[in-house]
Symmetry: C2
Subunit: 446 residues, 2 copies
Amino acid sequence: MADWKFLGAAEGVDAIRAGKLDVETWANLCLERVAERDDAVRAWAWLDPQQVRDEARELDKYDAARPLHGVPIGVKDIIDTGNMPTQYNSPIYRHFQPAADAACVALLRAAGALIFGKAETVEFASNARKAVSRNPFSPERSPGGSSSGSGAAVGDGQVPIALGTQTGGSVIRPASFCGAFAMKPTWGTVSRDGVKTYAPTLDTIGWYARNPRDLRLVYDVYDTLEVERDVPANAHSTADGATSDLSGMRLAVCRSPFEDRAAPETLKLLDETADRLREAGATVVPLSLPAHFQTLAAAHFTIMRAEGRVSFLREYRTERHRLHDFIADHFAPHPEVTRQALLQAYDLAATCRIEFDELAGEVDGIITPSSVGYAPQGRDDTGDPVLNAMWTLLHAPCIHLPSVASWLELPLGVTLTGPRGSDRRLLTLAEAITAAGIAAANPLRH
Amino acid sequence: MADWKFLGAAEGVDAIRAGKLDVETWANLCLERVAERDDAVRAWAWLDPQQVRDEARELDKYDAARPLHGVPIGVKDIIDTGNMPTQYNSPIYRHFQPAADAACVALLRAAGALIFGKAETVEFASNARKAVSRNPFSPERSPGGSSSGSGAAVGDGQVPIALGTQTGGSVIRPASFCGAFAMKPTWGTVSRDGVKTYAPTLDTIGWYARNPRDLRLVYDVYDTLEVERDVPANAHSTADGATSDLSGMRLAVCRSPFEDRAAPETLKLLDETADRLREAGATVVPLSLPAHFQTLAAAHFTIMRAEGRVSFLREYRTERHRLHDFIADHFAPHPEVTRQALLQAYDLAATCRIEFDELAGEVDGIITPSSVGYAPQGRDDTGDPVLNAMWTLLHAPCIHLPSVASWLELPLGVTLTGPRGSDRRLLTLAEAITAAGIAAANPLRH
């Protein structure tokens, strides 16, 4: 038997279909990895090994036809699960047990997945009470937030896939810090029913994986606009043959309107990635966004704060004493959080989306930084989301590619983005870039 | 004791505070009305009189300081309640019992409300399986949909307030057919956590009441952007003194880009309402929207269908045999439901919002039809939402004003609308128009 410890999702499903693996064995491999590493990483808010084994044995009674048959998937703990508590890392919701799965979880189960456990989150997927999770590559550092446990668990090889959510940079940033692949699809791709809301205009469900083929496997479960039309049901099975020749591909490098916030390693990695892409045959051009895109950071703040008031009003009014100051601060008067500012922010974002899609449509994909630098020291700072928030507000799909650059001291990577709805094209590009040896999951350790 | 059968919410709270009423008595008055009328109206998907009385007695132990102290409120049955089943009028969710209240319900409870029962809804607040409810003014006719039971219960005087939701015209249309006041606030005003989603870009929680003062009472509970700043806590208590002099008010009449769909009674009522407003002192001007607003109906269809696919994918994939054809049809290939059409619809709506707010900002409020005509015959047709859907897509606040016109054969009214965020101004206008004797709840019967 090969080293199946860090088995990818599609790879595992293939092995089960080929009779080389069963779900219970796979689940136990993941549980062993958790047992080895949990003291150091602390990715899980709730995990019951017996429940995992029971579910695995149940799944072994079925044939392996479903696309995610037996794949162990971690779920960020702001997403409801009908058979596990959902606590939002909030004392208000301690031991809270939802009556049903969130839609995004139910769809994974219907696709055959084994829901493995609840991954640690920053309180309400915000910047309030931090997760207890540690960076798997450096225990004194943050795994990023708010999808701290999801990024850490996949980066550490404890599960092949985990769900997260992004309102600012909460999917992509932990991926960058933890050496995982990740995808934040176009806004609206996945139902948010049963997921605790922060800001409806921004909140997007995304996921972590150890290779781009697995990102696509999950995307195929959720996509409602293309999957019937032009993607064969077994599309993922052919992805092994992804081209590594990038010639004919036209990529842009966007240093981001906020590049002054980036550390040297981030800018060096972006330039070097552009060089590697050129070496692999791609045409790489620079992309500068119009000056008024600078104001999207303020618009993002206004929307997050104003919509956050609506979302947290219930807890603020009924359980204020158990609410973190960061959340309570949303309700303080603020000159940028007024009805007029909110409407202006909506309208600016809407017009920038139109402009960005047009600009981005001139290339196959855009490379931009995923985080301002390496994971920060300590647990209090989960990292600056400034380089992610604009893409979230633009509703643009983002794929994080962990870099293989040998000079890196810690995981770091780049974001591949494009116009709304270009998710599938970006997945194909991500597969090609990975096949060309430019990206790989946590290359520092394995 | 005055005739307290059709007591308004603010009026009831005032009576309790004055020691003239207690919550139990009020709840019993509502239960008596239900007992009298339930065979004819069938507004309730779930109602337990004993639970209502128990809650009422519990509330009577508190002082009456909270703004909705003891107010019996019906809740549309696509909104979660932690102490009552929530069934979406879907066989899939028969007997489903959520673990917690939706945020919008929890906030009403925190404001002192008595959650009275679950109001009938069209399946998933769509146009699928119809509610069993009947129009309280004409049992062979529809109460409208999808908030069928909420509109019928308030129009029939069974409860002073009920929550509904609108994706096309599901709050305003039942109000027009049932002779109730109603408010659909600016999109995003109320958290949708715990409410079954249809289309996130459209879904808006609204409410029914028997007078505009009560609409404001609920709005004050939910508003997060103005209430702390410029509205005194006891604002509603002064509303009795609302001016009936409309001089100085500048109103526009918008015959809607879809007026060709309107029946004679609707157009006649609109013209007559304009006359009445002029007589009361208002300046009334016509408002024509730019020609491209005509295309908003198609954009609304595209967004509802495309987002509906995301929202119903879970039920479609796991319980298709128990899903109404109307929902399943969302997943059929459709030339207007493509990713490209969806993005174009989003962008058209966003630019029209900017244009509309500018146009609408030139007047204090806009009067436009609420329904194409009287409530349709039978239960299968809940009425055409075409005159409401554009406002929903524009995220514009809408208040339904039931008309007192003596020639009306059945309830009918007009919508008062304006730019996003003008909710409070519209409430003030609605109070003035009502004080001027132009609008009143179900004037045909009482």
